[in-house]
């Protein structure tokens, strides 16, 4: 899968959608609920696979998730029951930025 910055992906197993914020350094597979994510404009398979229990912590709207090993970073644009992973490694939610409002 070509995880270009700005590209949108949706979960094959739940309602989650993400936008890639930072591309991985090397080819990688972005997953949600344990299953590879699919392009945002693709149809979800009629018989969706189950959410893998190890990847069922959920994805929260507006959270940024990062995988240190590949450098991949994604922003959750629609929430879902599945959690995000890269090549099987769970992605971690990034901490809130503590920047004062400047606009």
């Amino acid at each position: 899968m070509e995880l270009k910055p700005g590209s949108r992906w949706k979960s094959a197993v739940c309602t989650a959608e993400v936008v890639v914020v930072r591309a991985p350094a090397a080819p990688a597979t972005l997953e949600c609920g344990g299953a590879p994510m699919i392009a945002a404009n693709a149809e979800r398979p009629a018989t969706a696979p189950e959410i893998a229990p190890a990847h069922a912590a959920g994805s929260l709207l507006g959270k940024r998730y990062a995988d240190v090993e590949s450098g991949l970073e994604a922003l959750c644009a629609k929430p879902g029951a599945g959690s995000l992973s890269v090549d099987g490694r769970p992605m971690a939610a990034k901490d809130a930025k503590k920047l004062p409002s400047s606009d």
């Binding site: 936008v19 709207l61 507006g62 644009a77 920047l99 004062p100 409002s101 400047s102 606009d103």
Partner: protein, 506 residues
Amino acid sequence: MHTALLLEMVAEALADRAAMGPRAASVSYGELWARARAAAAELALRSDDNVVHIGLNSPAVPLAIFASGLLGRPFAPLNYRLPDEQLRRLLARTAPATAVVDDDMTARVAGVPGVEILPRSVFEASALAAAALDHDLPDVEPDIAVLLFTSGTTGEPKAAILRHRHLAAYVISTVEFADAEEGQASLVSVPPYHIAGVSAVLTGVYGGRRIVHLPVFTPEAWVDAAITEKITHAMVVPTMLSRILEVLEARGESLPHLHSLSYGGGRMPPSVIERALNRLPHVNFVNAYGLTETSSTISVLRPDDHRAARTSDDPAVRRRLGSVGRPLPGLELEIRGPEGEAVPRGGTGEVWVRGEQISGEYLGRKLIRDDGWFPTNDSGWLDEAGYLFIEGRLDDVIVRGGENISPGEIEDALRAHPAVADVAVLGAPDEEWGEQVVAVVVVRSSVEAEDLRAWVRERLRSTKVPTQVLFRAELPYNETGKLLRRVLKAQMQMVSARDRKDVVAS
């Protein structure tokens, strides 16, 4: 990433939260998203490219930003204060375009080839009338989000390009999603054709704050709106702050609801920010430095820095009140010399930046380098702790006998003189030194040029003492309070040419 997605996300998370307008008649985030889609459907009926905005600040601005974004069309806000002829010439450059124009300004811009005028009232009505319409919008891969014409004090204005990815990167790296508390409200008083007018909409929305537009800035209207609308957050340029303080001082008002006030867009005189800190001790002040070409802010002096600078015994900490703080995390910033070489810490040079929000590009011209570094044309230096001090535009630095002299420092010194109301310091050609220091002064009360020179001599190095002090009734500013140094310089050159002629004639 698409800027319209920022609004869609907030509309999903905070559908009933007030998004736009006065407390008594606000529009919710859910409703704003619906209106933006309906307005986009209206614009989609027109086979034009750019979406131009000409008018005062109003709820039509965010509507046009998001509607054009949804269609993948550039949003190009123009300066309605330009003389008709210049405004029409600029508008012609945006063709083919649909121009959303304040109703009382349509006559000024009628008949420009390739531009269809959409009166603001019609545009806003379309967002309401078609609100139920939910047809699919074109599935576009958006690119250019905003075209901003730089003020162009010489020659034709340049159109700075900001792509969706630049603006979205800026927003998601500086604002935590839907983080605003219920009841927070931003007052937007910078004009819509200023980068801060655009970024205020995007960051305000992503944080989930209610946005209140002041149609046009006057200090009285700003203070009234801040009180009536219980404004918690606002951004102003230095001249606005100075005028707001005069109103507050005259009325004995302290704006108890105001939580955060950021300022930027020009050099803040120390005397003004000190007055502000005294007048509004409960407010968190933020100095934000950035350029149009950098998608707004790249460096911030935080509230804690302001407080530390006021209370510290350490002169290095105290002087940081005159800095623009530290670069945003995730951005790289370097000071480089004329050949692009790194300047050691503490040395002055050109400010260069690199990061995902940096565009550095204009229509037909690219200043950003292939490696992503962008030269800002601002002169500055970093202190030991990484605080950035901006000395002004590189072109404005005075080079006297090989020494680089920053006008700002001399202006600050002169502005602290009780008789000085306003001042600009410029370089003028000099046969012996290359350039000489000239101070152009507006006085409050009568004062001799020699007294002002002595005042500077007591405070700064002798090379910084103005050779000439000229007195003027006023200085030329643009409408966002930026001193028009080139205009002033041109006026001075005309005067000196006349002087020379007078000498020859006698």
